[in-house]
Point group: D2
Chain length 179, copies 4
């Protein structure tokens, strides 16, 4: 059985996002909205860097591959029942979409988990556009993808919060050393 | 070494909530606010029942004992540094308060986790009153307790969502059988 | 879009286990092996009851539906690459199988999580028979199912540990009351 | 209220390990034992590097501070009852020790979680020496610390597994490029 190279996994994960019309910018905008209260001059570029860093992680890439596949198969009616109806209707008590997304959120600490919970409830930016419930019974299915985007954004926001603290501390030390 | 009886653990956990001025009603009000959009005629009594059911769980009781103890020790300056300052200031990147609270949330499914995240960000009702940051450096410390209350409310809300679905299905079957 | 009834979900989940040759007895045997050191006279019947109780949970049923579907699709070469190769080879760093299984384990406390970890490493009983790596490139795929069985067994074992404690305490009270 | 500098947190966390007689080497030995089946020529130095990398994480440092504090307070009988007895006896159904430790394990993927479960059951090396149950009622308390050491070892082992894969892939590419 062939062994899959990391690069192939990474390329495929980025490709799945693109196929669904999800850009790095769109995810970075959610990150920026989450972190602006703590860092008013935060640029979109820094948020994009953080999103890209999160997308380097194998756990995140694997979750994207699984979630995107299940959404696609639901769209093409290739899942068996009753899973097909559960995924197509983005059933509120389903939970496997959040579980899969949570797996990679944990890696960025408890702040990432609470931010994910917030995004899951409030569906900001591109997450709202992906909301499966907006579309009719024959529309596109993003049941897994909207949670994955929320998880990437939450992870990138938490990662940034930790980085910003490191920078503040470094700047403080520099100031002290200069005096 | 003596073995602690479950009843003693349960009584102590309920006692810790009371000592902090946290009533079952106050937690039930958060649960009601969370579930009203899905069940407009939801009574406070049903929410209280759900909160009490969550408080029967050993995991929840143990987490309350640990969290209340750390808050009390911080208040009385009995923790060693730098933990004392981290807990007293409810440091944003601390995370152990959320981790402890999350442990018992998981038991109620991924909806409970996302509801916890929402409550942690938005601090509704009694959770807002408990917010450690509101008080001065010598004020009360609720760093762990506010997350624990959010976790109990989130668990009770998720538990209720599952029960309400069960009841809807039972009612539907009854209707069908009657026709 | 039709709403799926809980009974349909439950029947489908039990059906998926059966299709893979996984009996309640086989899972109960793992539970018994896990709990025997603490309760030497534990019967298989009590373990089967505990497994059935775990299988009543929506989170568990949903996870079975998703996992069994992905295994089946991999077996029939209906997943797209590179996900197909990752699932077919039960790639060690894949992780989505454990993540999905962990989601429902959390509900049974931290003992359930550590027991799951143990079973995932040691592959006892039916879990070993399901191990995808045993089969050749065209053999059956149980990449998700072996972790799901480990998660059901771990949950049922943890549930039993909590129950046994409750019973011990009740017996103790009865003894005291009788004296 | 003073803000605690990251360096102070890190120094304190390393100090707590040292106070309990836990060396980086002892943790690295567990990591090596876990990874040797996959990499027979793995040196202790590489395992130590991985342990040190895990100890750089804020989540890990915070968990050490909380766990070491609770162990110390239990040892000095400064916790209130019934928490004191639960921690002193390392009560099997307690769970908060595993929950706290799991919080930082999640950061290293699902392999880290299953490895943690394995270590929690089998208590290899220094983890066995720390086992609270070995000591009498007035002996040292390591109820939280043994789980924290298991979590650090599991995280470092998982981190290493991911790194080794990266290196294998890099070496493979190099070979191909050379041909």
């Amino acid at each position: 059985m062939r062994r899959v190279h990391s690069k192939e996994v990474k390329m495929a994960a980025l490709d799945r996002l693109q196929q669904r019309g999800i850009t790095i910018e769109a995810i970075a905008e959610i990150v920026r909205e989450m972190q602006l209260p703590y860092k008013p001059d935060l640029t979109l570029e820094i948020c994009m860097e953080s999103v890209l860093a999160v997308l380097q992680k194998r756990e995140v890439q694997h979750a994207i591959l699984v979630g995107a596949e299940l959404d696609r198969l639901a769209e093409e009616n290739l899942l068996s029942e009753p899973l097909l109806s559960l995924v197509r209707s983005d059933e509120g008590l389903f939970g496997c979409d959040e579980t899969l997304a949570l797996g990679s959120v944990f890696g960025y600490g408890s702040i990432a988990v609470t931010t994910f919970g917030h995004l899951d409830k409030h569906k900001i930016g591109i997450i709202r556009q992906l909301d499966t419930k907006k579309y009719g019974p024959d529309g596109p299915v993003h049941t897994f993808m909207d949670d994955l985007v929320a998880s990437i954004a939450a992870s990138a926001a938490s990662r940034l919060a930790h980085r910003l603290r490191d920078e503040e501390e470094a700047a403080e030390e520099h100031r002290r050393a200069a005096n």
